[in-house]
């Protein structure tokens, strides 16, 4: 039995975790590999915390066990911390440098964690931190943040970059292909030098 390569993608409903998962899943098919995954749908999507599991070469169930993920990709800094227990020792963490504060923080006046405090807590995972908003804007559209982060994580994903890029082109809205390809490449370039 081949051991699967387990990726957990987390973020906030609406940030594009499902698109990122589709890109990876379809890229697996291009390479003739099995893939399993699980997603958050329904009520949990309304601006709530969401998680997408992807198991490359997965044979059995779709869920990743806490403590065993090879790669954690997070579209939000706070969500990276919330799901950090999923990462295995020595696993890779690729994280957006910024966070959206939950509305509950304002309405219930709960203590507001700062980005620096969260980064300090994440440091033990040696995360790759990306200013996805800035890079996406440079690529031409701040909506391409998810693809920037995917590009940055692509070094750790056991799939060919061409396969991932081919699926980016296929799966993003036709008018945004150029921006998203650029976003992917800039993200990828960032995490090499970053």
């Amino acid at each position: 039995m081949t051991k699967s390569f387990d990726i957990l993608i987390v973020g906030i409903g609406g940030q594009g975790t499902i698109l990122a998962s589709n890109i990876i899943g379809e890229a697996c098919l291009l390479e003739g590999r099995h893939v399993k995954g699980a997603e958050t749908h329904g009520m949990a999507q309304r601006g709530g915390s969401v998680e997408t599991h992807i198991r490359i070469d997965g044979q059995y169930g779709p869920l990743i066990v806490p403590g065993t993920a090879d790669l954690l990709i997070s579209f939000d800094l706070l969500e990276a911390l919330r799901y950090s227990h999923y990462l295995k020792t020595g696993g890779t963490m690729v994280v957006n440098r910024h966070m959206v504060l939950p509305t509950s923080v304002f309405t219930q006046k709960s203590p507001v964690p700062t980005e620096d405090v969260i980064v300090a807590q994440l440091n033990r995972f040696a995360p790759c931190l990306i200013d996805a908003d800035k890079i996406a804007a440079e690529a031409g559209n701040s909506l391409s943040q998810n693809v920037v982060i995917l590009g940055a994580a692509s070094w750790s994903i056991p799939l060919k970059t061409e396969s991932l890029l081919a699926e980016v082109k296929k799966l993003v809205p036709p008018k945004t292909v150029e921006v998203n390809v650029k976003a992917f490449e800039m993200g990828r370039a960032f995490s090499r030098t970053g």
Partner: protein
């Protein structure tokens, strides 16, 4: 043969197309909705497809189509099967001619549901076959088997995927699409279709006579199977079977249950070959009870003796812990990891600019904390966070619970909320009943013209059918008036002044008062290209009073003693109307 990376529900829908279906109906409900959502957007469908107004209606339509010889599928979530239970129970007696598959998707852990009931118990209750897939590919393959079994035994077949099948993804091998070519024809046969006592007694006997052959056939078809490896065995069903296979030691026998009813004789032979048996399944101990009946003195481990939980969903970690506890694994191969504690929660929330928030705000301002707020099932259940939801039990139960409280003698105002789709689903009967029996209450119909929470399915209020064809949009006002309500007002909840005025007026009246808070769902509006322009806070005017922040819109933040509006703003302008110092206004065009 083609391989695709698909959601479980997409694979199920594709299998329906491969099976040459002629008829599809359903009522949206997570985790089942995407099946009809896929079927309704196919180009030039050769089948009839509809979103019905509720599950009972959906099932009766599909049943009739199957009586006419069509291959039919009817989809719903587990609690929808309660609504459809009336036709379900007797459909087992009448049987079908064309294949009828009833998909009732269970939701262990209640990810998006009000309970954790088990569709397999309904199958047992109705004496209908039930297929229980353990993954995406199997869900796909079982649909084809389900139609064949339905046609062979002339019985509706229940199909029961769970959330982790419906919303799992995987590479799936698909077959070719077969266009449905059957033409429906109803053959009159009162002994089959008119269930008067004289007929139904015979039909019941026929149903029971089908059971032994059915049990054998499910084994012959390989839906229930086993491999003997040693003196101990694990028997598993559903997604739990996939977790077991990932952990199973090589010397432990494995039985997979994928279909019910389980053949007791076959099960007993397997059980007697082992010294101890562990049963792994989600929700009710359906397999476990069957195993215990035939196990004799072979010890059985499961929910009933406390080795596995009755509640929640399984995961590889939970299954590993059960296997260790029951002595089927020497030690837990998985390290136990705990999440970081005390992080601010991020629960789902009403969207920025959602008009339900404005309606709840106005209701609470007029009727205050003291009023009682029964509510219903939809996005607006999230009004709980705004303190405007006091009860939710099932679809349509806002008005009925409201009138019950109103009649109980509690002197407080009763103000209930119900969405348009839920009102049409099972709310109208409650309204009729409340008026007829003289309840004193206010009903706010939160009318966003669509069934939003499950993914924006159209309903009779939307003006289009499932396939996008125009249909006459129903008049909620006329329905309410025809039920005998005299106070019916339709208001745009973004217009806070008017909303407050109408609520004040309603508060002064007696009897049943209905306010229709009508505005497009903010997501549907954005998709339709409605652009309103964002709002911004003038920091010089802002006093930091927090009135807008308490409104709870995710577009409003608070930092350095001032409010700020972020890019989520949809331009509803309600916060601008709330601000006591006029510090919020439309953002100047850049």
């Amino acid at each position: 043969m083609e391989r695709h990376y698909l959601l479980g529900n997409e694979a199920i829908a594709h299998a329906c197309l491969e099976s040459g279906i002629d008829f599809a109906s359903g009522y949206p409900g997570t985790p089942s909705s995407e099946v009809v959502d896929v079927l309704r957007v196919q180009k030039d469908p050769t089948y009839h497809v509809e979103w019905s107004v509720n599950e009972k209606v959906a099932l009766e339509n599909a049943l009739a189509a199957a009586w006419c010889g069509l291959r039919s599928i009817c989809t719903m979530k587990h609690v929808g099967l309660n609504v459809a239970a009336d036709p379900l129970m007797t459909s087992a007696y009448t049987g079908v001619t064309g294949g009828l598959v009833i998909m009732s998707a269970d939701d262990p852990f209640a990810h998006s549901s009000q309970n954790e009931q088990d569709t397999r118990c309904y199958a047992h209750f109705a004496r209908l076959p039930c297929l229980d897939p353990s993954g995406v590919q199997e869900a796909h393959d079982m649909i084809r088997a389900a139609f064949e079994i339905s046609e062979e035994f002339r019985l509706p077949v229940l199909f029961r995927p769970t959330t982790r099948v419906c919303h799992s993804k995987g590479d799936v091998e698909l077959g070719a699409i077969v266009p449905g070519t059957r033409k429906g024809e109803f053959h009159k046969d009162p002994r089959q279709y008119v269930v008067i006592p004289a007929h139904t007694r015979l039909l019941h006997k026929k149903l029971n006579e089908k059971q032994p052959i059915l049990k054998k056939r499910l084994v012959e078809r390989g839906l229930n199977h086993f491999t003997i490896k040693g003196k101990t065995a694990v028997i598993a069903s559903g997604i739990g079977a996939s977790y077991v296979q990932e952990l199973l030691p090589p010397d432990v026998s494995f039985m997979k249950i994928g279909a019910y009813p389980v053949d007791e004789e076959w099960l007993g032979v397997f059980a007697q070959k082992h010294e101890k048996i562990l049963v792994i399944e989600e929700l009710a101990p359906v397999v476990e009870e069957a195993v215990r009946q035939v196990a004799g003195c072979v010890p059985v481990f499961g929910k009933i003796n406390g080795y596995a939980p009755y509640e929640g969903e399984l995961s590889p970690a939970v299954v590993a812990a059960i296997m260790v506890k029951a002595g089927f694994l020497p030690e837990n191969p998985l390290v136990s990891m705990e999440p970081v504690q005390n992080l601010p929660l991020r629960p789902p929330i009403l969207c920025a600019g959602c008009h339900h928030r404005a309606a709840f705000y106005a209701m609470k301002r007029v009727f205050r904390e003291s009023a009682i707020y029964p509510s219903d099932i939809g996005c607006y259940t999230l009004g709980l966070q705004l303190g405007a939801v006091d009860t939710t039990i099932c679809m349509g139960a806002s008005i009925t619970v409201g009138s019950g409280i109103a009649h109980s003698g509690d002197p407080r105002d009763v103000v209930c909320t119900i969405g348009d789709s839920t009102f049409l689903h099972t709310g109208i009967q409650g309204l009729m009943n409340a008026v007829y029996n003289g309840a004193n209450m206010t009903i706010v119909i939160l009318d966003n013209r669509i069934t939003a929470m499950t993914g924006h399915q159209p309903n009779p209020n939307t003006g289009v059918t499932a396939t996008g064809a125009e249909s006459p949009a129903i008049s909620l006002d006329a329905i309410c008036r025809s039920c005998g309500v005299t106070f019916v007002e339709t208001v745009d909840p973004y217009d806070l002044t008017e909303m407050l005025r109408v609520l004040e007026e309603a508060k002064k009246k007696k009897g049943v008062r209905v306010i229709i808070a009508k505005q497009m769902c903010v997501i549907a509006a954005r998709r339709a290209g409605v652009k309103r322009g964002r709002y911004a806070v003038n920091l010089e005017l802002c006093t930091g009073c927090g009135t807008c922040v308490k409104f709870g819109c995710p577009a409003i933040e608070f930092a350095d003693e001032k409010a700020r509006i972020n890019e989520l703003c949809s331009g509803c302008a309600v916060c601008a109307r709330l601000c006591p110092v006029g510090a919020i206004s439309r953002e100047a065009k850049k």
